[in-house]
Subunit: 255 residues, 2 copies
């Protein structure tokens, strides 16, 4: 708080703390008490109390009638869907992705980059699988996943360089190794036209990915994934990867 504070007269702490409270809620949790919020955010009780009061008044939190715990309010939902509405590719991709998930019995996702992560814009699970807990808004690392590597490999060389710098900073000591594997993946992508991660990111998950470049839109990527026990590498390479490429073709006929 010494070197930073100079310029961070601009940084509004109270706002950041309030958002920290909102972000303390993780998917699947029902409701959090003030105390739990305090623990998670590391803020003193009274501060959390004030923040949650404010957030509740604004509709970003809602208080459970019975036990007084807080849930995320529906105002948050409105914000989130405003974000989604700006990515109109979802309208086109959604139905095709569902079709894919149905036909191939796989989960499929569409993602774009945020920093050193890939963020899911849309996911369709295969009907069979309740599967992995990745949903719209979830993040996976770019450098070590099929979808991230496909994204990277599909970028113009210039952008790849910028991204390398960002990732190098992000991973520091680990970068040499991770970077090498990323370069490896890029080579493979050039040869095969898809990236693969067979149990590499999540032990029991197999995935393949392709990049998706729609003119005038930010670069994106698609992946198809499923549990290792139900899939074998041959099928992934021979059937799933080509199907994914075909889907990409329907989304970006020119790209």
């Amino acid at each position: 708080m010494d070197l930073e504070t100079d310029k961070d007269r601009l940084f509004v702490t109270a706002l950041a703390r309030g958002l920290e409270v909102l972000a303390a809620f993780r998917p699947g949790e029902l409701a959090l008490s003030n105390q739990e919020l305090a623990k998670r955010t590391g803020l003193p009780k009274s501060t959390v109390s004030r923040l949650s009061y404010t957030l509740t008044r604004l509709g970003y939190l809602a208080q459970d009638e019975d036990n007084g715990r807080y849930r995320l309010g529906l105002a948050v939902l409105a914000l989130g869907s405003t974000v989604l509405s700006s990515y109109d590719i979802r309208q086109i991709a959604g139905p095709l992705m569902r079709e894919f998930a149905q036909e191939q019995g796989m989960s499929i996702s569409l993602a774009l980059r945020d920093g050193s992560d890939m963020v899911y814009l849309e996911t369709c699970r295969s009907p069979a699988r309740i599967s992995v807990q990745l949903t719209v808004g979830s993040r996976v690392p770019l450098a070590t996943t099929a979808i991230g590597r496909a994204y990277y490999a599909g970028l113009p060389a210039e952008e790849q360089l910028k991204l390398q710098a960002l990732l190098a900073a992000r991973y520091s000591a680990e970068w040499p190794e991770i970077g090498a594997r990323l370069e490896e993946a890029r080579q493979a992508y050039l040869r095969q036209g898809y990236s693969a991660s067979f149990g590499e990111y999540e032990p029991d998950v197999m995935a393949v990915g392709v990049h998706l470049a729609v003119p005038g839109q930010a670069p994106m990527a698609l992946n198809a994934s499923g549990p290792a026990f139900a899939l074998d590498e041959d099928a992934m390479r021979a059937r799933i990867a080509p199907a994914l490429k075909a889907l990409r073709q329907r989304l970006a006929p020119l790209g």
Copy 2:
């Protein structure tokens, strides 16, 4: 700011203002400049500058490379989908709703109440229609829409009373009239098992609604809607309304 300030030592203004900035973004808008944010929120330039700086650092805003304007950041998306993930009924309802939209050529939505509004948890447009700009997170008034009236009519009497009080406060002078029509709608719902709004809320939109009571979940409601020019009242009553009831049956076999 006199009578309120007493207790509103608790209210954290900076947080509220930051969220106001986020909420200034409306669906379909690409990006807003600091100045536009200032105009919309009524805050001075320098304040907005600080807030947008803070929000950007936290990932809740993202700055467009070219023109420096702000877009909602992907962190917002994560929050929004955390909300959605807590309503697991979407997993079940989603596919059935899409099926309905496909078969009936109508838009269909699932909503629950927030204050005096109904908030859409899920919507499926018919493939034919690009249609109305209502999406997940959108709000429509409870008292004057098919979906809201169905929600109301499906509530236990006790809850209806509480809601009346809330609506009376909300509409004050207009309440007698609006309340009377709501009561009318409730009567009709008892007779027919569905509510209807034929051009009442939006001039050219016809809609029918049914309530959805799943044990252990907050009460909800469904509607089916479409453009007036493509629909006639008979078809809505004879075909769509029963189909909607049938769908409800599949979602809440016991209710």
